[in-house]
Amino acid sequence: MGMMLTIHPEKCTGCRNCELACALEHEGNFRVKASRIHVYAWEREAFSVPMMCQQCKDAACSTVCMPKALTRDTATGLVDYDAAKCIGCKMCVQACQFGNIAWDAMSGTVLKCDTCDGDPACARICPTGALEWADEGLAVQPRKKSFATKLKNAFAEAQS
């Protein structure tokens, strides 16, 4: 089974440690503009959501990439980026519906999550478990069980 980076927004405190760890891992300094993960906050509701590449199976970025700098690795399940092949056309940036791939003028490369080669720094530093690097099957189990519990309680209430 493959691994996936799972987001649990209800656990996110908005601290942005993930952005910092990502920037340091990839850029060697704390330039969060170049981070591959970004946290969006709704301050009125005190709610935050981290956003990063979902490693789509049918990835629009890869489809539109003429020089094949973005390709899907079937073994790892990741969309890989080869900077050497990239011509900087930015078609991928425009194609991604999630906005999860960006152009970085400073480095002249595309910014996209590479899961730190299977050990994502963002998930490692996340202080609350809002980001989880987990087996693709196990990743959804807590959520599934949590919803199942709600259903169970609803049934119990209806029958009482």
């Binding site: 209800e10 656990k11 405190t13 908005g14 601290c15 942005r16 440690n17 910092l20 760890a21 920037a23 340091l24 850029e27 060697g28 300094n29 704390f30 330039r31 969060v32 503009k33 170049a34 906050a41 301050e43 009125r44 509701e45 005190a46 709610f47 400073m106 530093i125 202080p127 609350t128």
Partner: protein, 601 residues
């Protein structure tokens, strides 16, 4: 530079002139950043006798070297100016992402001078800095202003602004960043309002560089581990927020009640962190780079007090709760929301309403004075309305806007103002906890707990237990905590990291980040330097040893009820020793030897 960005932004609001200056590396080393560097600039550039609300006062926004890095819970910045509430040097500290974003835009310090001719806001996008018209924002509350500025500048901008309270020069108005985080104390928001500056929006695309990446990662990892393993830093604050302290302080008789008339409130639990978690908490929140998550994302569904946002913190729940004789958590949280939206310091607001409630209960003020507001103890609706009126500058709110010392003085009873240097004391009874009283009395910005938080050892037993009723060893303890905190504030770290780490840990992170070698003692010495410079400023502004005092109630009236019944503050006994420990003369002035030792001579 590593850690620092190396640049200072100076904006003359009067002429609109914007200039860039280099950050002197020596100053950065000696004063670190934030509170320290801001104070040094004030010392060098502003006459301490300046009218705080005049154009001659300056307003400084400064993050610290840690801000913008993943040093744990370290994204903070300070607003430094002369405070209108106290007349002292004022540095008010806030979290969120604003301080880090200033660093990403390339700035260690932003100095605002003069006064804009019309309402304005400053838009900083890296090196592109622009003073823009803010006429359309004037009068708007904090969330509306913030959202409008996202639209006008960038969705990714961070916004620090004032609400109507700052515009109307409420003497304890706050500066709010990202809607929910406050540079609350001493009235820095009123200084911003006096300059016709509604907001600063900032967006940065640069990075903070690290001198020794591996050493920094290791030092931060070690610090994080210690904080996470600590029962307060790692667990308690996330579960219950700072409001967990309500029951702890009440249990030792140190929870100021009814304007400090006593230190125990029988139904305090109703406004404590456990009740908050059960009734209103949506989720814990963290500031930039935070691993502690003490912030409270909350929601009140009760139609009378409906709202959502962040808070309350312990001091807020106490100020609008037990200090006003109130145990209605929904009302308390609503008062907090009003403070955030209108831009008010919750501690001084709570303390000022509490003072008015006591005067009302004693017949010193009547319904005629309050313009119909029934400020009887325990009247939660009236308390909430008093807060709103203060923020919008209407009715009796115009008098509350002066703070409790000036309010009580109008009616001839300054002794009923529970303040030190005219700033409201926070939620720890000096009669019940001796060290904290000495800290209030000697604090460079008056009644304030976060610059010498001796509650850790005196009540929580962190890092070691001190007898809260003893006076022995307290002058040394207070001075050490004040020095350490001044360094922590100046570094950009959050005070709550002390629930886990100490001077050596900060020094290790700072050395690796900046490439400048600091020992734990060097770090504390930076703090001592800042403390003494603040003291020099205050002395020059006319403060003397006579101002190092608590309200007479604390020293003369024994605590009437609760677990600390019978106790008084012995702050006067401790003062000579405190001055001696500090290396100050009998009049509370730093000696030449001390100044030479700190390179301040």
């Amino acid at each position: 530079m590593n850690g620092w960005m190396g640049k200072i932004l100076r904006v003359d609001l009067g002429s609109g002139k914007i200039s860039t200056e280099r950050l002197d590396p020596q100053l950065a080393r000696d004063y670190l950043g934030a509170r320290g560097l801001g104070t040094k600039i004030m010392w060098d550039e502003v006459d301490p006798n300046v009218d705080p609300l005049s154009p001659a006062n300056k307003l400084i926004f400064a993050p610290g070297p840690f801000s913008g890095t993943f040093a744990p819970s370290s994204g903070r910045y300070d607003v430094v100016t002369k405070g209108p509430l106290t007349g002292t040097i004022a540095a008010s500290n806030s979290g969120g992402s604003f301080g880090a974003e200033l660093k990403f835009a390339g700035w260690d310090v932003v100095i605002l001078e003069g006064k804009a001719a019309k309402p304005s806001y400053l838009w900083i996008c890296d090196d592109a800095v622009e003073l823009r018209d803010a006429s359309h924002l004037w009068g708007k509350d904090v969330p509306t202003t913030t959202e409008m500025l996202y639209g006008e500048t960038s969705e990714d901008a961070k916004v620090a602004c004032i609400g109507p309270a700052g515009e109307k020069l409420v003497l304890f108005a706050s500066v709010m960043n990202e809607m929910q985080r406050a540079a609350g104390r001493t009235g820095v928001g009123a200084v911003m309002g006096s300059k016709n500056l509604k907001a600063i929006a900032v967006r940065g695309t640069q990075g903070v560089d690290v001198a020794d990446k591996d050493a920094f990662v290791a030092a931060c990892g070690e610090a994080s581990r210690k904080i996470k393993e600590h029962p307060v830093g790692g667990t308690g604050l996330r579960l219950y927020g700072t409001d967990v302290l309500v029951n702890i302080l009440n249990s030792v008789g140190g929870l100021p009640t009814n304007n400090f008339q006593t230190g125990h409130f029988p139904t305090a639990d109703k406004v404590g962190g456990e009740s908050l978690a059960a009734k209103q908490l949506q989720r814990p929140r963290g500031c930039f780079a935070c691993i502690i998550s003490c912030g409270r994302g909350t929601k009140v569904t009760n139609p009378k007090y409906k709202g959502e946002g962040e808070g309350p913190e312990y001091e807020t729940a106490w100020g609008f709760g037990p200090d006003c004789g109130i145990d209605d958590l929904d009302a308390v949280t609503k008062a907090n929301y009003w403070c955030n939206e209108l831009g008010l310091d919750t501690i001084s607001m709570g303390g000022t309403v509490a003072c008015a409630v006591e005067m009302f209960s004693k017949g010193i003020i009547t319904l005629k004075d309050t313009e119909g507001l029934d400020l009887s103890p325990g009247n939660a609706e009236a308390m909430v309305e008093a807060v709103r009126l203060t923020g919008v500058g209407e009715g009796f709110g115009k008098k509350l806007a002066l703070g409790s010392w000036r309010l009580a003085s109008i009616y001839g009873h300054p002794e009923l103002s529970m303040t030190a240097k005219k700033q409201e004391m926070p939620a720890y009874e000096p009669r019940a906890v001796q060290g904290i009283g000495l800290n209030y009395a000697t604090n460079n910005r008056g009644g304030c707990h976060v610059r010498g938080y001796t509650i850790s050892p005196e009540v929580l037993g962190v890092p070691v237990k001190f007898d809260k009723d003893a006076t022995e060893g307290k002058p040394e303890l207070v001075a050490l905590f004040q020095n350490l905190t001044a360094a922590i504030d100046s570094s950009g770290a959050c005070l709550f990291t002390t629930f886990g780490i100490g001077a050596d840990d900060y020094a290790a992170m700072l050395s690796a980040l900046t490439g400048v070698a600091y020992s734990g003692d060097d770090f504390i010495k930076c703090g001592e330097r800042v403390w003494n410079l603040e003291r020099l400023w205050n002395n020059r502004a006319g403060f003397t040893a006579a101002d190092d005092a608590l309200p007479p109630r604390m020293t003369e009236e024994p605590m009437p009820t609760g677990p600390s019944k019978g106790s008084v503050s012995r702050v006067k006994e401790m003062m000579p020793k405190y001055y001696a420990v500090r290396g100050w003369d009998d009049a509370g002035r730093p000696t030449e030897e001390k100044l030479a030792e700190l390179e301040l001579a």
